[in-house]
Amino acid sequence: MWTWFYRLASPPSVYRVAAALTPWFLTLAAIVIGCGLIAGLAIAPPDYQQGDAFRIIYVHAPSAWLSLFAYTTMAVAGGIALIWRIKMGHAVAAATAPIGASFTLAALVTGSLWGRPMWGTYWAWDPRLTSELILLFLYVGVMALRPAFEDPSRGDRAAALLSIVGVVNVPIIKYSVVWWNSLHQAATVAKLGRPSMPGSMLWPLLTMFLGFMLFYGAVLCIRLRGEVLNRERQAVWVREAIKSR
């Protein structure tokens, strides 16, 4: 029953599929992010309270969302690798970590720039901001732990364990604005009821979410191919793949 899954998760298959998907993801991401930026910065109306400063949401919210999504992907991939011993799980986790870390940094920096005019400060030890900073430290920890072992498979296992333990921080970030008093505004899009944003502001934001996800897919595919090559250097299929370039 699982044969197809194991075949799909085999290194040659992952390398081939990632190579085929990259140009599609990259082209679509460029178009969608371009449209989202124009719509968010030029077409969407200013907020009645925050004025044009609210436009930072169009780069801040997708970065923050991606930081959580990439971490969850990393933990799930690590879990799959540990439970089913699918070694491509470790490759996906290793490829995801620097992408997630960079978007966590983007979320923190853009949030800080948004905080200055709205809260009067670049930084506060607020639950949402602090938990997002912890997420950045977790990413750095996972990236530092992997090469810290002489045996790469032990490094992979240790990094997977840390990412699984750290995944508890994801719901803390998400619900920090509900559980504690926070300077940060409550959820505007991902609410059980209707989003508290008018459509003219919402659709550019959803476009940017989609664009960032497509971009993540493209960069993940490129990094994954590098990971596969690094891990499968001795395999016969790698020789063929390198020769056919």
Partner: protein, 56 residues
């Protein structure tokens, strides 16, 4: 482009650096990923060449 667009209602010094930083992160991600793949290819090609010379 009109002046009001660039001034962002007086918030230009917060909005534009945010957009610029996010774009820089996107560009860095792409550049770093391409470089990572190129380095992996180079290392693999070198390992294959060494293996071939050893067996010859």
């Amino acid at each position: 482009m009109s002046n009001s667009f660039w001034s962002m209602g007086g918030y230009a010094r917060y909005v534009w650096p945010s957009v610029a930083f996010a774009c820089a992160v996107l560009a860095w991600n792409l550049w770093a990923a391409i470089r990572y793949l190129a380095a992996a290819r180079q290392r693999t090609a070198r390992a294959l060449a060494m293996a071939a010379s050893d067996s010859a």
